[in-house]
């Protein structure tokens, strides 16, 4: 299922046979990603699962991949979140690929450095 979604996403983002318009994402601060963007599009879930188990169960911290790190760079500067609309970084792509995101039922969708006031105004 996930592989099918990834295939469509790759096909769409490279322009090959794109029937549905590619999401126009608000990448937030953006900049240099921890890995090649195409590798991240296809594999970010695997990297995050691996890091998650090592951190929760073994206490290994400060690794290369981190969900909070993704959010820090990719939260929209408009609503300070990776969620909220189909332009927001995580929500936009996941809606396009039709893959449900569970992460933010527990994790924050807002950057760690956000002030309390900004947090109030944005998407939770």
């Amino acid at each position: 299922m996930r592989r099918i979604a990834a295939f469509f996403l790759v096909a769409a983002l490279t322009g090959a046979g794109a029937a549905v318009p590619v999401p126009d994402l608000d990448v937030g601060q953006g900049g240099h990603c921890v890995n090649d963007p195409q590798v991240m599009r296809q594999n970010h879930m695997k990297f995050l699962y691996q890091q998650r188990d090592e951190t929760v169960r073994q206490g290994i911290r400060g690794g290369k991949y981190s969900l909070a790190g993704c959010v820090d760079c990719h939260a929209s500067k408009v609503n300070h979140s990776v969620l909220g609309s189909d332009r927001n970084f995580c929500q936009g792509c996941h809606t396009y690929a039709a893959v449900k995101i569970d992460c933010f039922e527990c994790h924050s969708s807002q950057p760690r450095a956000l002030s309390a006031a900004q947090r109030e105004g944005g998407h939770p």
Binding site: D53, E54, Q58, I60, R61, E105, C106, A116
Partner: protein, 245 residues
């Protein structure tokens, strides 16, 4: 299994016990020396066992600084509704006959033989190599067996959707949670939030440290004063001990 700690144990032991040496930065506030704390990329090791010594003779019945600090650190809901999670509670006891009163905080006792881990059908409840008992919420299905198994009533179920994600620990509806000994702070070489809050109030009723290091402040104190483990008859070997009960 990858969860098991002992792969690096021998290597760790050969390096001695320097990893947990504590330095006092202010009266009553213990900070673990960053230079000698476990590097972030290294897994927790069974050469360390974290524990707490709670001195009830220093605990003030009117004070709930530890409870407030916990709620703030972990963004637990306030004001407290009857169904809201409680990771730490203040308990008042009175001895029959003499009428002697004792006030103390109760939380997960971080058992060495935790029944919550034994009964968990998914492997979500687990004991980290350094003795901290946690719920891996990615695996928790919310069956609440662990809540039934815990003799200390230390665990809570998250009934409501979580709105506030600003806390140090990710939390979500449908999972069970309990005191984490502020594992995120411990991994940075800091003491749990309750311990620091109690010290800031001037009570210093909570002492945190490495039970496996005979020179740690907690080990020295355990050697010099009488303490008990709660329901020691159950043989769960809690990491928490109480003075003055």
């Amino acid at each position: 299994m990858s969860d098991q700690p002992d792969a690096s144990r021998r290597q760790f032991l050969s390096r001695g016990t320097a990893a947990t040496a504590a330095v006092a930065v202010a009266p009553g506030v213990l900070l673990y020396d960053f230079a000698r704390a476990r590097p972030p990329a290294e897994p927790a090791s069974s050469a360390v066992r974290w524990g707490l010594l709670i001195d009830t003779t220093r605990c003030d019945s009117g004070c709930d600084a530890c409870v407030s600090a916990c709620r703030e650190e972990n963004a637990l809901p306030l004001p407290l509704k009857p169904t809201d999670p409680q990771w730490i509670r203040k308990v008042e006891l009175q001895q029959e006959g003499s009428g002697r009163k004792v006030s103390l905080p109760m939380m997960c006792q971080h058992c060495a033989e935790p029944p919550c881990v034994d009964v968990c059908p998914t492997g979500a409840s687990f004991k980290r190599a350094d003795g901290i008992v946690l719920v891996d919420k990615h695996r928790c299905i919310g069956c609440r067996y662990c809540m039934m198994a815990c003799p200390y009533k230390a665990r809570s179920f998250v009934h409501e959707p979580v709105e506030d994600h600003s806390g140090a620990t990710p939390r979500g509806q449908g999972t069970v949670e309990s005191c984490t000994l502020c594992v995120h702070r411990v991994d940075q070489g800091r003491a749990p939030a309750c311990v620091d809050a109690c010290a800031s109030e001037g009570h210093r009723a909570l002492l945190f440290g490495n039970l496996n290091d005979p020179d740690s402040a907690i080990s020295q104190r355990l050697r010099s004063v009488a303490s008990v483990k709660l329901r020691a008859d159950l043989n769960l070997d809690p990491g928490l001990s109480y003075v003055g009960l």
